[in-house]
């Protein structure tokens, strides 16, 4: 059976619903040796500010049951070096590039987005208003409804690229943030970023991360992420990009049935960098078995008990 894996995010048509999650795939090129980047629906690159950033002191990660905490602190090369040093090769490899945009201020989000809008090969902007690991910027926009509306509207005014605000789960009602983003002109929302968390070494009585707190990702968060994606998809009309702990084709399908149009995979790619082809064939096999012709037919297809 010939199955159609195409999905649409705003004006962007992706050949399949699988994307790398920001911060878990470098700038994509690190993987060019072992993964055909053009085979992914999109490559979402590490979060970028206007300028270079050093990030936090190590230790930056620690394992927890079925998951991990990270506090990388958004180390990165800044938007100018990214455009100069990484984009030409990403274009050459045929990657559909989505840039995760960060900012310490409203002006910085706008400026970085404006710069990217003129760059050939940038397919969309994922607006990172949800990083739990830095003091300034990021989450301070994502935890307040009016700030979320304000930053999304401001970026909307300077770009025609598909705009995907990335939401934090560290709020009481994620779906109200999805609604605020939609009202401000977002083309889609992505969720979840990591859950603010902490681990302590009881022998040394020190936190296991130098930053004290970090973000929890991996299979441990999947059921909460599925619930949040479901709630958002119920409330907004724009597509929802779902993530959080996806490690198998069945996990991808779970998110799509809950309402995700596309998905991102982060932590699981650390364990299996070759996961992409496994996920794709698993989805195709499911569709053939369940007689589903188009993957979009699965989106929000959950059946209720009564």
């Amino acid at each position: 059976m010939n199955v159609d894996l195409c999905v649409r995010i705003g004006s962007l048509v992706l050949k399949n619903p699988l994307m790398s999650a920001s911060g878990c795939f470098g700038y994509g090129l690190e993987y060019a040796d072992i993964v055909d980047l053009s085979s992914l629906g999109a490559v979402v690159v590490k979060g970028l500010f206007l300028n270079e950033r050093e990030g936090h002191q190590p230790p930056r990660i620690v394992e927890t049951p079925s998951g991990m905490l990270n506090a990388i602190g958004l180390q990165g090369i800044g938007v100018h070096r990214f455009v100069r040093e990484k984009m030409p090769e990403l274009r050459r490899l045929g990657a559909v590039v989505i840039v995760n945009v960060c900012g310490s201020s409203l002006d910085e989000y706008v400026e970085v987005s404006r710069i990217l809008s003129d760059v050939e090969g940038v397919a969309a902007i994922e607006l990172n208003i949800s990083c739990p690991n830095i003091k300034e910027g990021g989450i301070q926009f994502g935890c307040n409804l009016s700030s979320t509306h304000e930053v999304v509207s401001a970026v909307r005014r300077v770009t025609t690229l598909p705009l995907i605000p990335k939401l934090t789960p560290n709020v009481t009602s994620v779906s109200s943030f999805a609604r605020a983003a939609e009202e401000a002109g977002a083309d889609a929302v992505s969720l979840v970023n990591t859950f603010l968390a902490m681990a302590i070494d009881v022998d040394t009585r020190r936190p296991k991360l130098s930053n004290t707190m970090g973000g929890l990702s991996g299979p441990a968060i999947r059921p909460i992420a599925v619930r949040m994606v479901y709630e958002c998809a119920q409330l907004v009309r724009i597509p929802v990009v779902g993530m959080g702990g996806i490690s198998s084709a069945r996990d991808v399908l779970e998110f799509m049935i809950a309402g995700a149009t596309a998905v991102q995979i982060g932590t699981a790619t650390f364990v299996d960098p070759f996961i992409w082809s496994t996920l794709r064939s698993g989805i195709e096999e499911y569709m053939a078995r369940h007689n589903v012709g188009r993957v979009t037919d699965l989106v929000g297809s959950m059946e209720r008990w009564i």
Binding site: I34, G55, S66, N70, F270
Partner: protein, 271 residues
């Protein structure tokens, strides 16, 4: 060369002591491609706990009778739940092994000598390095320190390959009583300045720092094999960073999986 991911069969698991063992893995492709100092990422379970792979230096590159590389070994120290799984592995088990990864050591040739300095499980990259240096006929020494006599392994192996050994134990049960930096410093003092040598070092961070400093004081280049906590080993996650100086002398965090794990001692900035 692109790293390979193999479902490698465990050929042997040799316990050296209560805390150390050597795991031999059938991995011909990885064995053929590995250069000394490179590492592999090993999955210790097929489940989600512990979740991440663990980085291990390639210890030995093992060959069949014709000299064709057929297996690698890794030297493991028992530290947590992941390494406990590896300690319990037996012949016939299979483990996902990804590699080779990272930048290898630069090999020095005669008249230069190679002085290897190992602390505990920091011996790990030096068996493969010894074989490559032997092929160049580079004179080699190994300064090797552990807590006790029972924490020093493979001494006969290194001696059989012509490596001159200088041992140290913290409890004084073998070699110099104290840290391995003591015999190293003594040897550096008496080495004539016109005889070139390069220091290769792997071990706990305070030791790396001390040895890199000794190299600087005595005007000897060092190659430092760092051991950071790693998420992916491929440059995806930015967790394994160390601080190094760039050409202008400005320190930056760089990923030890891509830019290392081997760095020039003079480039590393210690916290």
């Amino acid at each position: 060369m692109a790293p390979i991911d193999l479902d490698a069969e465990v050929l042997r698991n040799t316990h050296l002591s209560a805390g150390y063992h050597v795991l031999v893995l059938a991995a011909p492709g990885i064995a053929a491609a590995t250069r000394p100092g490179q590492f592999v990422m090993i999955r210790t379970t097929t489940g989600t706990d512990p979740l991440l792979r663990r980085p291990f230096s390639v210890f030995e590159i093992l060959r069949d009778a014709d000299g064709t590389p057929e297996a690698i070994s890794i030297l493991c120290k028992l530290v947590g739940p992941g390494t406990a799984r590896l300690a319990g592995a037996s012949a016939g088990d299979r483990l996902a092994v990804l590699g080779p990864l990272g930048k290898p050591f630069d090999l020095v040739a005669p008249p230069s000598e190679a002085w290897m300095v190992a602390g505990g499980v920091g011996l790990a990259p030096f068996a493969a390095l010894t074989e490559s240096l032997a092929a160049l006929a580079t004179p080699t020494r190994l300064f090797y320190g552990g807590r006790s006599r029972t924490d020093l392994f493979y001494l006969d192996w290194f001696e059989a390959r012509g490596v001159r050994l200088d041992l140290a134990t913290e409890d004084g049960t073998r070699g110099t009583h104290g840290r391995v930096t003591a015999p190293l410093e003594a040897a550096l003092r008496v080495m004539p300045a016109d005889r070139p040598l390069t220091i290769y070092v792997c071990g706990p961070e305070p030791m790396l720092k001390a040895v890199a400093a000794l190299g600087r004081v005595h005007g000897r280049p060092s190659q430092v094999s760092t051991e950071q906590v790693m998420g992916c080993g491929l440059g995806g996650c930015y967790s394994c960073v160390v601080r190094v100086r760039d050409e202008s002398g400005t320190p930056h965090f760089v990923r030890s999986c891509l830019n290392g794990p081997v760095f020039r001692g003079e480039d590393l900035v210690w916290e």
